[in-house]
């Protein structure tokens, strides 16, 4: 038992189980930890304390870009109550989430690259003493010219923020062409080009990041942290703390008080806490202030976009030429992946016949950007969906009908070789069109009121791991105790989305148990098999499939023992309601406890494992690693707005959203994920922005929850949520993702609704009243009723990697390699 089945046959995950035969899956059950959550018993990282624990604070840079000349810690070290002071030289190994951008140090060594970069760490008897000691550390900086914007970064190659990348302050530049763009534009009946800008915004999880580190008497390190990715933190700790072997490092991810991508990187404060614990021999706690969380960031990249699109008379996309310019901030983070994501999923929603994508990421002296819910895809989705709305107006088509006519087909390959499985977007559009009264109301509401539609797709987990390996993306172990207890061990991390519960529901479904009787042990690198983390909407599909495999293997073992005992063929046994019985004679059976006892008596200790690895991608060109996924979710949304044409101030009274999630493992939790996504999207659409003051050395303008505006109960509209279930063969019981996709259409739907209401275009996110007002004023003075960017920077693009589309007979590799392969194939044949 326990060997991985590398090639998983389609259908293995029983996506075709009829809904009515499911006993646990799909039911709107409580979460298995619901009582802990509502009684305040859940222990988040900052709720933990240990005897003799010290508190740590980080001294952070007050300048945006500088060389560190000297650091004097003598006064801090001399302070009573101070037990440890760390500088970067004791942690020289760089780290970073992606293997291609290991560009962070736990404490800055030679340079600081942003206000907030950590330069020293102090551990003391309490937080106040640690902070006062930090203030006694004297740092001398030699300031360098700071770079604050995409345009500055493109125009100023020097001083370089990092000494790697494409050159100057360009971190990465990519150029991919699928099909024949010129041909595509030649076939178009209508072409238009638009520029868009999506301002950066942040996750703003309610819980501030916190870490507790213990280096115990047996010289083993334990790190409890508010992290979404304990496995990657484990690897980063092992790298920086070498030669401490990884097997002596234990990372326990506490339940996260919200993540949204903001706790997915290994962080400097986590590594400093671990190192400080090793040096002082005392447990070390750090909890970031809210202001520090803003500088930690890793949120939505500001992205400037240019989209040139060619369509035929029906609005079908014959050619799309898309450019994105990402403001990456001071470090790599997930940025290379983010860059590809601004180009990857344009093709998954509507068919794009020929597609050209160029994307460039720049370093700037601001908080590093990374993955936030939707990771790199909300920005191009905004651009494309607003542009399609303009196309519909140009062509005199209904925007909903035009989208419906051009859906990417189910069970197909896109121009860039992404494999679409189930595809329920048509049903989603039908739902929101009917629910919102689209046909009767759009374009017919009084001036100031309007409806806008937008659609989206998102991946159910990244098809490739962050570091190259052939191992499973998710593993589950089951331990079956003779008491009847089934313990589920899995490395997945519950960040509030309910991933612990999903494991329980799926195992309980397979074994016919009550999910609340199971014990779920997760996110502990000493105890649980690796799950790569709570990112890219991967957990339900990947840990769910692994759990299902482990549970089915356990069922096989038990069934064999019971079949022997009852003298009933294995195939006739049913697992339900805590019993194993003969389907033809239900009285003939044993309890689940007796089944475990029978199996343990027969073969010894009972345990099974399950693993999941996504199917191989058809995209084999360089850069094709970002975008493939086991399946894609689909969303359609209609937003209603009420705009004051005098001021531009608007409200959103109602939103209709339909999401194709394959199958709901828990319908109530799925509805909650959709509503939460809509909320977060609405915040981005209306108000949220990471704003800096270039005139004040690049300090964050509003690093507080009061001034960084997010929607409160007063702004949240009624949301009508439709779950569309189009089961996908790659999902457990057909499930696809639900946690991120429903965010995507909200921003463009708001912008499109504003146009329907008052006839002006805001080609920028957030769509603030000031921008609506500016566009209204422009329209009144006879100019174009538009607010948005007008120029893109000059970038030296690399030569395009050309890939023929599937309908051109392409094989998923670059044209050049195709011909090389052909030549090699011919040579090989000759040799044979």
């Amino acid at each position: 038992m326990g060997t991985d089945r590398k090639d998983t046959p389609v259908g293995r995950w029983r996506h075709d189980v009829p809904t009515e035969s499911l006993r646990v899956v799909r039911q709107p059950l409580r979460k298995v930890d619901a009582r802990s959550k509502v009684t305040g018993i859940t222990r988040f990282a900052d709720d933990l304390t240990l005897p003799r624990m010290l508190h740590m604070k980080l001294l952070r840079s007050t300048v945006a870009h500088a060389r560190i000349v000297s650091i004097d810690t003598a006064a801090a070290e001399a302070m009573p109550g101070v037990h440890g002071v760390l500088l970067g030289n004791v942690m020289p190994n760089p780290f970073g989430i992606l293997p291609v951008s290991q560009d962070e140090h736990a404490l800055c060594i030679e340079k600081v690259r942003m206000i907030g970069d950590p330069v020293a760490a102090v551990a003391a008897v309490d937080e106040q003493t640690a902070w006062e000691a930090c203030r006694k550390i004297a740092v001398e900086y030699e300031e360098l010219t700071p770079i604050h914007t995409i345009h500055d970064a493109a125009a100023q190659p020097e001083p370089r923020i990092h000494d790697y990348g494409v050159g100057g302050n360009v971190h990465r530049a990519e150029n991919l062409e699928f099909g024949d763009l010129a041909q595509g534009f030649a076939e178009a009946d209508h072409v238009r080009e638009d520029l868009f800008f999506f301002e950066g915004n942040t996750h703003l999880p309610m819980e501030q990041h916190a870490t507790l580190a213990l280096f115990d008497a047996d010289e083993r390190l334990t790190v409890w942290s508010s992290t979404q990715t304990p496995h990657y933190l484990h690897r980063a700790l092992a790298k920086v703390l070498a030669p401490l072997p990884a097997c002596r490092i234990r990372v326990i991810a506490c339940p996260n008080g919200g993540g949204f991508g903001g706790k997915s990187d290994p962080f400097n404060h986590e590594i400093c806490a671990a190192k400080m614990a090793m040096i002082t021999g005392r447990p070390i706690k750090i909890c970031l202030t809210r202001e520090e969380v803003f500088y930690c960031h890793r949120g939505r990249h500001p992205v400037l976009m240019k989209s040139r699109i060619g369509v035929d008379k029906s609005g079908a996309i014959t050619a799309l030429d898309f450019e994105s310019y990402l403001d990456g901030g001071s470090y790599g983070s997930y940025g290379v992946a983010s860059t590809f994501y601004t180009g990857a999923l344009q093709t998954v929603t509507y068919t794009v016949q020929n597609y050209h994508f160029r994307g460039a990421r720049f370093f700037t002296n601001k908080a590093p950007c990374g993955p936030k819910r939707g990771h790199g895809t909300p920005q191009p989705r905004f651009a494309l969906e607003v542009q399609l709305d303009k196309i519909a107006v140009d062509l005199g088509l209904d925007p909903a009908d035009m989208r419906m006519a051009n859906l990417a087909p189910a069970e197909s390959l896109t121009a860039n070789f992404l494999r679409i499985g189930s595809m329920g977007l048509g049903a989603c559009i039908d739902k929101v069109v009917a629910g919102s009264g689209w046909r009767e109301r759009r374009g017919k509401l009084p001036h100031g009121r309007g409806l806008g539609i937008a659609c989206a797709s998102y991946l159910s987990g990244a098809g490739l791991p962050i570091y190259w390996n052939s191992m499973p993306h998710s593993g589950v172990q089951l331990q079956l105790d003779r008491s009847g207890l089934v313990t589920v061990f899995c490395g997945s991390t519950d960040i509030g989305q309910g991933s612990d519960s999903i494991l329980a529901y799926i195992v309980a479904e397979v074994l016919g148990l009550d999910p609340f009787d199971l014990r779920i042990v997760t996110s502990d690198t000493d105890l649980t098999p690796v799950d790569l983390g709570s990112y890219s909407s991967r957990v339900t599909v990947m840990s769910g499939n692994a759990a299902m495999q482990a549970a089915e293997r356990a069922r096989e073992v038990l069934a064999k023992a019971v079949a022997e005992q009852l003298e009933v063929p294995v195939g006739r046994l049913v697992f339900a309601e805590g019993r194993v019985f003969d389907t033809e004679d239900p009285d003939r059976g044993v309890s689940f406890v007796e089944a475990v006892v029978a199996a343990e008596s027969r073969w010894g200790t009972v345990g099974t494992t399950g693993s999941y690895r996504p199917p191989k991608s058809a995209a084999r060109f360089k850069g094709g690693g970002v975008g493939p996924s086991p399946s894609y979710s689909y969303t359609a949304a209609v937003v209603e707005v009420d705009v004051d044409p005098e001021t531009g101030i608007y409200t959103v009274p109602k939103i209709w959203v339909a999401h194709d999630l394959g199958r709901a493992i828990n319908a109530a939790l799925a509805v909650g994920q959709v509503e939460g996504s809509v909320y977060m999207g609405l915040g981005e659409a209306m108000m949220e922005e990471m704003a800096y003051r270039p005139s004040r050395f690049g300090v964050h303008k509003i690093p507080s929850m009061l001034e960084y505006k997010s929607p409160t109960t007063m702004e949240m509209p009624d949301v009508v949520t439709y779950l569309v279930e189009d089961p996908d063969p790659n999902g457990p019981y057909g499930a696809k993702e639900v946690g991120q996709g429903p965010l995507l259409p909200i921003m463009p739907a708001v912008a499109n609704a504003v146009f329907d209401a008052v006839g002006v275009r805001v080609d920028e996110v957030p769509v603030t009243p000031e921008k609506v007002f500016a566009a209204l004023q422009a329209a009144q003075s006879g100019k174009s009723g538009r607010f948005g960017p007008t120029k893109t920077p000059d970038v030296e693009w690399p030569a395009p990697r050309r890939v023929r589309t599937p309908w051109q007979g392409g094989t998923g590799v670059e044209v050049e390699r195709e011909s090389q392969n052909e030549a090699a194939g011919v040579a090989g044949k000759k040799g044979a």
Partner: protein, 173 residues
Amino acid sequence: MSQPSKLLAEFAVNGEATQVAFDGYKTLLELLREDLGLTGTKHGCELGECGACAVLVDGTPVLSCLVLAQEVIGRAIRTVEGMAEGPTLHPLQDAFADLGAAQCGYCTPGILLTAEALLRDDPAPSREKIRDALAGNLCRCTGYLKIFEAVELAAARQRGETAAPRPETIYGH
């Protein structure tokens, strides 16, 4: 470093007379979390912006991060730990669990207590009144909708009505 300057005082915490020695500069939030080990009360900003630290003082919601502990000596403090009656959840806690109104659960304690005070004053609040009462409590997971519905469900149950979640709340439309 610090002088032996702790205050010794008594608070009525969740109905129990509780003596505690604490530093005079500590907020009620710090007293609860650090000196009494009641970590159910959360913090999201420590500046009175997010509502995560809300507790009831003599029945009124206050932001415990903005109140010095020594200001509320002798007063009745109610935290999330005091809401359930033994193993029986408070109707609000039950409704939040039933609807998935607590996703990550971090803002939940503050919202539960704020809602409890609302329902004491108004057993049948309108949706608008619920929005208004909870306007100072940020939640980043739920979009507030399940929270509104849970408060309404709990209110109905507290009024003695047999109330069940609406099907569209738990299955979608």
